[in-house]
Amino acid sequence: MRSLWPDLEPLLDQVQRPARYIGGEEGAVAAAHGPGKVAWLLCYPDSYEVGLPNQGLQILYEILNERGDATAERAYAPWGDLEALMRRQGLPLFSVDTHLAAGEFDILAFNLSSELVYTNVLNLIDLAGVAVRSADRSGDDLLVGAGGHCAFNPEPLADFVDFFVLGDGEEVVGEITEAVVAHRAGGRREVLGALAGVDGVYVPAAYRVSYCGSSTVVTPRWVEAPDVVEKRTIPSLGDWPYPKRQLVPLTEVVHDRLNVEVFRGCTRGCRFCQAGMITRPVRERPAEQVRTMVSEGLRRTGYDEVALTSLSTADFSGIEQLVADVVGPEDGAGGAGCPAVTVSLPSLRVDAFTVGIAAELQRARRTGLTFAPEAGSWRLRQVINKLISAEDLDAAVEGAFSQGWRRVKLYFLVGLPTETDEDVLGIAALARRCVELGRRHVRGASVTVSVGGFVPKPQTPFQWFGQNTVEELRRKIALLADDLRADRSVRLKWHDPEATLVEGLASRGDRRLGAVIEDVWRSGGTFQEWSEHFDYRLWLDAMERHGLSVEDCAYRHRSDSEALPWDHLSAGLHKDFLWQDWQDALAESGLEDCRWTPCYDCGACTGYGIEHVVASATPPAGGSQGTGQDLLRPGPVPVRLLETRQPAGVS
């Protein structure tokens, strides 16, 4: 195996930000390749700056490298300037760890966190030196795999990727490795057959697709393939204290800080949120293990900032105590010998955000504070089941300003089911109200309103909803902008409605969309999630060329009776639970968090014989979810309580 570094080095003098190609990060592993080992090239299909911090990829990188039968390196999408030089010189995609050509690996595995990276996936498969279509690959060619949230409807990529992994990857990567070791002598078809038999693994080639009317029916055609592929879920996060050696980049990246995942899963039940739906149930990391991971992580990396990550960190049992512990003693001597550790809580729910947390965060350096009410009226928040009352929001915003924050960022969606202009204008009213509250505490209080277009996602109650047209989204944003024009304390930012549409096409598309993705890629449409590269025309033209209608794919409401392209893939959620939740949404009826109320039997626990793992069965302070209901009424709640004293976590 030969390192491509000598060929690459002269090119790096000619490109922007060459440091993203050199590897050598603190925490990187000197991969020991060897015969018999399965070599994984873990690839994030976007630039290094965006991809390096991805925790999922880092976790699998460590777990695989700890195994005796596997080795893992990393790759990222080279930026256009380097790609052009590489293609001119015939250099393939390479790993940043030891600069090996992608072709030296057995598996090229992608992390799919956004639909807009799909064209990059094709580009990288091509750059790796193999055919982009799975059917055209043979023999010893790389196996192409993918996981991440988008894998819950991978059909648009089904013609290009050999296998998908649904759900948590911690355990299944080992099983995939073992299947490859055991079957590779038997050839590609045998390996794929074995993979199709691994729980949580979906091999598209093992299924036949038929289209009848508006239904898409996917059924097995290989004996190894199950009718429905069920996702994988690790029952306890405490068993997986990863990453143990988070990578510390040598150049600037997004989220450049220590990240410690405090829990996985979320049962707040926001109906628009795919992440919440597909990662159920809630599995908290023992607080003791979090503390150890934070203190060891800070010492090892030299970072002075730590993010406690999850889908809604304020819901973590005992969060106030945890933040206080991480910030350190009152005298200010923080963890790694620096005066203060900054703690950021990336996903804060306003109803669980208390003045106590605000005060603890404030003692450390202040980072931006973002709240996501998502919708501008209580009515619409009931529809989407983001049950935050106006009082909850007032209290949180006032709490923040009273503790010295000067700017609060609010995140909203437009294009939600049943949304009226009144709801949209409610966003402006809410922003103005926040400024007013802020002015009671600080001079120059300001609010940034960030508006995204809603994309209905598979495996959620809104999977049947026809998304708003580009024109409709534009109209709503204009309405809002107009209303806020005179307000100098409110800054409005919005996401491009055209990109929202393309995301929607890829999100709920079927296999036929693959040809469109290939077309857009062949026309040079890569890095589509970067606004300067996004090319709406390419997508519309390709849709037309392949006879697909935007109306059909994204705008129409789907019905109860039709088979959806992802019905053969399961996140545990029963379809009738989702349908009922969709009906409840239309009836403006909210649903409480099943962590603190009786189980609805959505399937995520009951189907897999697992439970919530939390340290406290009481909701966080003020956590009535605004429903005014008694959340503590008795009933069977499948909760496993963590012991209060845990053995020190990181081994």
């Binding site: 060459p18 440091a19 050598g24 040598l250 150049t251 010998g337 620096c338 350096r365």
Partner: protein, 254 residues
């Protein structure tokens, strides 16, 4: 109290820019557990002052920086003595600390003090005869006009006096051009130097070999006692100039 370090940046890490290096240093001083002083204010940072920026892609065996420690007296000397090892252990591959000395209070900052740098240009792809002719042209030029752009305005200045000693060192495996370029009032950058005479000289890797402080006709390195370095008995100048210097450089120093 302030401690001055000499460090090197070689190999793949040369592709990290100045800002990247600054971030690496902030984390390194924390990881090394040094009693580093922090800036005041909203977002305190370790107090480190870097010298003249090294461009992305360039190597150096003569980088310097000053770091403020919360220590004084004997303790300060102890910390300084341990710094090369402690810091090198936590810096990435290719970054190494060679020397560390406390500075006399009031010592002039690197940015202000350094008056010239010695650079090495790899001439691997260039015909040596061609390079020799180019060097001769620069040597014999009466004036060397350099066009520079700043805030959208183009200015031309004569940098003849900023271009010092030039040598070509020929070895069997590689040839290098060694040049001393002034930094006052504005540094002549290596890339600018190669374009002083058309056609520009083609060069590969660029490496900084020395930074110099010239005062009253004498030349010192930034870790010399004359530059403010305090050595508890021992010849700082010697310590600062010997190790990790490529063979080609000895002639230039002599």
């Amino acid at each position: 109290m302030r401690v001055r370090l000499r460090w090197s940046k070689q190999g793949k890490i040369r592709f990290c820019g100045h800002r990247d290096a600054a971030r690496i240093w902030e984390r390194a001083v924390r990881r090394a557990g040094l009693p580093v002083a922090y800036s005041q204010g909203f977002s305190p940072r370790p107090r480190i002052s870097f010298g003249l920026a090294l461009a992305t892609g360039q190597e150096s065996v003569a980088e310097y920086l000053d770091v403020d420690l919360r220590a004084s007296g004997e303790e300060l000397y102890d910390w300084a003595a341990g710094m090369p090892e402690r810091l090198s252990a936590v810096l990435p591959d290719g970054m190494t600390v060679h020397d560390a000395c406390p500075l006399r209070p009031g010592a002039v900052s690197l940015q202000e003090a350094v008056t010239s740098c010695t650079w090495e240009f790899a001439l691997t792809k260039t015909d040596t005869a061609l390079a020799a002719a180019w060097v001769e042209q620069v040597r014999s030029a009466d004036s060397l006009p350099l066009q520079r752009e700043r805030k959208g305005r183009t200015t031309t200045s004569d940098v003849r006096s900023a271009v010092g000693d030039l040598h070509i060192l020929d070895a069997s495996d590689r040839s290098v051009l060694v040049a001393e370029l002034g930094t006052k009032p504005r540094a002549v950058r290596p890339a600018e130097f190669l374009h002083l005479i058309a056609p520009p000289l083609a060069a590969g890797c660029v490496r900084r070999l020395h930074q110099w402080i010239t005062r009253d006709g004498e030349r010192y390195e930034p870790l010399a006692p004359e530059a403010g370095a305090l050595a508890p008995g021992g010849d700082v100048l010697a310590a600062a100039s010997i190790d990790a210097v490529p063979a080609a450089q000895q002639e230039v120093c002599a």
